[in-house]
């Protein structure tokens, strides 16, 4: 089955700093998503990005499917960006979503 690995596992930023989170995935996938889980446990879908680049405000994501990785960029970080960021993938032809272990981000004021 597919495996999803995220790095770094933990990240502490000063407010205003930029950061890059990485997700490596094995085998072929036809879907790649990024989620943010807030301290209350709610998972919010940030990007559906099987390939290419997308931007939404201070967040952007790039997936290079041929090289099996995706990057999430956070610019001008804010304290409300704190939480856990997950990438998740579904194997081609299947319906099982595999989540990475997450990157725990803490943004200091």
């Amino acid at each position: 089955g597919i495996q999803v690995e995220q790095s770094p596992p933990d990240l502490i930023l000063q407010e205003g700093a930029n950061s890059t989170l990485r997700c490596n995935f094995s085998d072929s996938v036809n879907n790649l998503q990024w989620f943010h889980q807030n301290p209350w446990g709610q998972l919010i879908n940030l990007f559906y990005i099987p390939s290419g680049t997308k931007q939404n405000g201070r967040l952007s994501a790039t997936t290079v499917a041929t090289e099996r990785y995706s990057l999430l960029y956070i610019s001008s970080s804010q304290t409300t960006d704190s939480g856990v960021y997950f990438c998740a993938a579904i194997n081609t032809g299947g319906f099982k979503t595999i989540f990475g272990a997450g990157t725990r981000l803490f943004v200091k004021a």
Binding site: N31, Q33, F35, W40, G41, Q42, L43, I44, N45, Y48, F86, A88, I90, G94, F95, K96, T97, I98, F99, G100, A101, G102
Partner: protein, 113 residues
Amino acid sequence: DAGVTQSPTHLIKTRGQQVTLRCSPKSGHDTVSWYQQALGQGPQFIFQYYEEEERQRGNFPDRFSGHQFPNYSSELNVNALLLGDSALYLCASSFEGLVVGYTFGSGTRLTVV
């Protein structure tokens, strides 16, 4: 427009008991997926229901079972509870299983004592 609704929000059960968790999908969605998230870990796929059938299952024992009703709502049942079943149980809904528009509920926190 209501999002995904899960109930109850918190639950405490004793080892060996049975529990039923409920999920109402977002309006317009017809597919429900269930996940278990242990503390400090990523969500683990339990199974997905579409057209009232279990479409795919993760690596969970038969103690975990589910159901989808004609109105697309779903239940997750866990029998013979173990301490290790303590976790946040998340439900996600989508349309025809498509990943675009995948929406999660706030989860049910289950504690087994």
